[in-house]
Amino acid sequence: MIESLISGFEAAFTFTNLFFICCGIVLGIVFGVLPGLGSVTAIAIMVPITFYMSPVAAIAFLVGINKGGTSGGAIPAILINAPGTPEAAATARDGHPLARAGKPEKAMKMALYSSVFGDIFSDIMLILLAAPFAAIALKFGPPEFAAIILFSFTLIAALAGKSLVKGIAAAALGVFLSTIGLDPVDSTSRMTFDKVELFDGISLNALAIGTLALSSVLSQMFDARAGGNQAVEPVSSDYAKDNKLHPHEYWSQWRTLLRSACIGTGVGMLPGLGVSLAAFLGYGAARRASKQPEKFGTGALEGIAATEASNSAVVGANLIPTIALGIPGNVAAALLIGAFMIHGVVPGPLMMVEHAELVYSIFACMLMANLLHLTIGRVGIRIWGLFVRVPKNIILPVVVLFCIVGVYIPTNSLFDVGVMFAFGGLGYLMRKSGFSIVCLVIGFLLGPMFEMSMRQTMLMHKSDLSIMVTSPISLVFLILTVFFLWRFGFRSKK
């Protein structure tokens, strides 16, 4: 493996590859910074452009976008409480209070360093585990996937914190919304009212941007008008001193970083669970393990470290099922599969054999991308820090425009813009009434996978669901589900 990696470095370490990695990271950060865009939009737009690049440069470029976009989403979350990406919503919980306390750069530095830590950790895991994972994951079938997703739903209950009822209600609403569109098995229409725009279901982009970014902007606009939301005051006499992140402040979080990186890698390895789930699991785990959980949500560095390390750790780990099995871990990985296929490479178990040099060159590019990400991100912090000096009565209305453009670009559909407006309004009401938006989005993401797995299980086992308890992997996750339900239910009552 070491020899393969060294030869991968030899093939990957060219000026062209480094240039495209840098371009990808900058592009990813810019798309991540703009609420409503994000790395998925950037990758979707850029995949056709990679046709003109070599396979290594193309994948490195797209991976750079993915890495930059994941950490870039934290910047508007910290500065204006409008997460650029769904997973950055958790970062906003502690990042924005810190920015409001006059330490936006400190929050962004913590986010960047944690993000790079998570990236490096997951890339190493990817290199070590890609081949062995293929052998294990081949044993997963629909019952196992159904059990894993059911387990994930119970973890959503944990995300809802003490407001269990509202959290589960939001998740159930998300599952319901995900069922709108054509039936995944027999293609009959479900609640589409014969509107062609709904045949593919509600756009995730529109729902996520509407509920997470637009609703936050609306809430801030209304609060600012009412005078209840104080403007950010970043410039103080101690601004430079306040915004310095001391090495001991960072390294004192090593347990949180390691735990979150492990969570992010674990979530990334399981197809479909996604970055948002990792971010909130990392955050939740850090809060539960913390000696001062009450500080979470008030600007705790631990909260930022936990979220960013876990969501960035998904990026590399996502490629484990993508490369080993040809199963995309999330939307970004699905787009990467498209890029692989453009270059005549079919992801799957044989890829490690037939294109070993390419695979290890990509691994080498990913490791180099982390160092470039750290450099570019660190240099850019000063520039992103300028965002907070723009008055809210200018930046918030402009962000609404970015949301509109972000939803319109991928599909060229005004219908999706209308859907985003509707979810912006719904998100605003949910914020005010304490319903978890994150639970809604995660319910929406996991709903179709859960349904598909259940229906495949029913068809494959002639409606006999006892397979769910006779399969050892499925049984383990079901036991974990019951355990977590009991634990969270008990904690909630307590």
Binding site: V165, F176, N393, G418, S433
Partner: protein, 157 residues
């Protein structure tokens, strides 16, 4: 928050009941195979869960119910202040704005809609430097329009 829970429970309950007894039966097909789940199964399960939880919310919102006042701000902090008259008025304002914005984009295009929206929003947020307001309201939509066109060859509506 007690009143908010009551109202939220009622709205959620009505919505879930409407979906269960009208929307799902009328707008989903029966199962195509005896072994398969009905297409309406998963949305129905989700809505039954919502209906059950709506009942719990209504119960917690009643004067003799168990209150979750301290639980409400887990995710949003001070933002989860409850739904009052001001929130409903703001929501109504947003609905009206969204409808006008959509109509403008469909009829007059992105530029006119975006410029109108920016002017209205910045005036609403009490930006009183009029030269700055005019520059941003015109400059940013025009810049966005051309950047999107030149970078991605996508023409905004």
């Amino acid at each position: 928050m007690q009143a908010t829970n009551l109202v939220a429970g009622v709205v959620l309950g009505i919505g879930a009941a409407g979906a269960l007894f009208w929307l799902i039966p009328n707008y989903t097909a029966p199962p195509q195979s005896p072994l398969d789940l009905a297409p309406g199964f998963m949305p129905s399960v989700a809505m039954w869960v919502c209906l059950l939880l709506a009942a719990l919310l209504i119960k917690s919102g009643l004067p003799f119910g168990r209150h979750d006042q301290v639980h409400a701000d887990e995710e949003f902090g001070d933002e989860a202040s409850g739904v009052g008259i001001a929130t409903i008025a703001n929501f109504g304002l947003w609905v009206a704005t969204a409808v006008v914005l959509m109509l403008l984009m469909q009829t007059l295009g992105f530029l006119v809609a975006a410029i109108s929206f920016l002017v209205a929003a910045m005036v609403y947020m009490r930006l009183q430097v009029y030269w700055l307001l005019a520059t941003i309201a015109v400059g940013i939509p025009v810049a966005l329009y051309w950047i999107i066109w030149f970078a991605f060859t996508i023409e905004l509506p």
